[in-house]
């Protein structure tokens, strides 16, 4: 098993690839079927945001370990336009594109850790973690 998987995100096909890679890695780490669906969905959301708002970027999947427990780390990174009001973007239903506005807040809900750093004109990095039970 590789320590790190990188998926370049440029189009909707890469969004599928990223969630499949994430699911495979998480399955390997012993996550339950329920958790696999949560992880794959969260990856799908942040990867699509890259395509929609930043045109391109990457998803990095890593293994975390702490006190003998394994976890998955998902980093979604782009050098796109960034988010002016991150607090607002994290609100349920807020979308600048006519979307449902549930991608970011929903992903935060289903992962154990969720961190977002964004700077206008510099880009956005979302880092999410989930531990296997």
């Amino acid at each position: 098993m590789k320590d790190e998987v990188r998926v370049t995100i440029k189009s909707d096909v890469d969004v599928v690839a990223a969630r499949q890679e994430g699911r495979a890695l998480a399955a390997h780490l012993g996550f339950s079927t329920g958790d696999l669906a949560l992880i794959a969905t969260a990856i799908s959301e942040v990867a699509r945001n890259i395509v929609n708002y930043a045109k391109q970027g990457e998803i990095i999947l890593k293994v975390a370990e702490k006190d003998g427990r394994y976890g998955i780390v998902v980093v979604a990174r782009d050098q796109g336009p960034g988010i002016a009001d991150v607090a607002r973007a994290m609100q349920d239903g807020h979308s600048t594109s006519g979307g449902l506005g549930l991608g970011l807040p929903g992903s935060k809900r289903v992962m154990d850790d969720f961190d977002i750093v964004s700077e206008v004109d510099k880009g956005t990095t979302v880092t999410m973690k989930k531990w296997a039970r």
Partner: protein, 124 residues
């Protein structure tokens, strides 16, 4: 991969595959709206049994699709949402308000039969 759409009597059945891209989903949406007219179908079953993720884009598109197909005079039912996919949707905050769902293809077709015969019931 384009979602295969089958005609079965008065209905259309779209069988979504696992690696569904956004473009595939939009293509299926357009194909179904067109084929409903072409085949004068009264109902559409969208079978998502193979799907392991139903994210916010998919949820929104399925909703749009169901409403648009209703405006075209047909009924749409989504079947085969897997338990873990259903839980993930709920936890993410996604829902399919006003969209009919059924357990599997058989139940979906039965639901369409009831829905369309509801209109026919009083005919005889």
């Amino acid at each position: 991969m384009r979602v295969p759409i089958l005609k079965q009597g008065p209905y259309l059945i779209a069988s979504v595959q696992s690696a569904l891209t956004d473009a595939d989903l939009l293509q299926m949406r357009d194909d179904l709206a067109r084929l409903v007219g072409q085949h004068r179908s009264h109902g559409v079953v969208v079978d998502v049994t193979a799907l392991d993720v139903l994210d916010s884009f998919a949820a929104r598109t399925l909703r749009t699709m169901a409403y648009a197909i209703r405006l075209r005079g047909a009924q749409m039912v989504i079947v085969g949402i897997q338990p873990e996919v259903a839980f993930a949707m709920v936890q993410l905050g996604l829902s399919l308000p006003g969209v009919d769902t059924a357990l599997d293809l058989e139940e979906g077709l039965a639901l369409l039969n009831r829905k369309t015969s509801e209109d026919h019931a009083s005919e005889g």
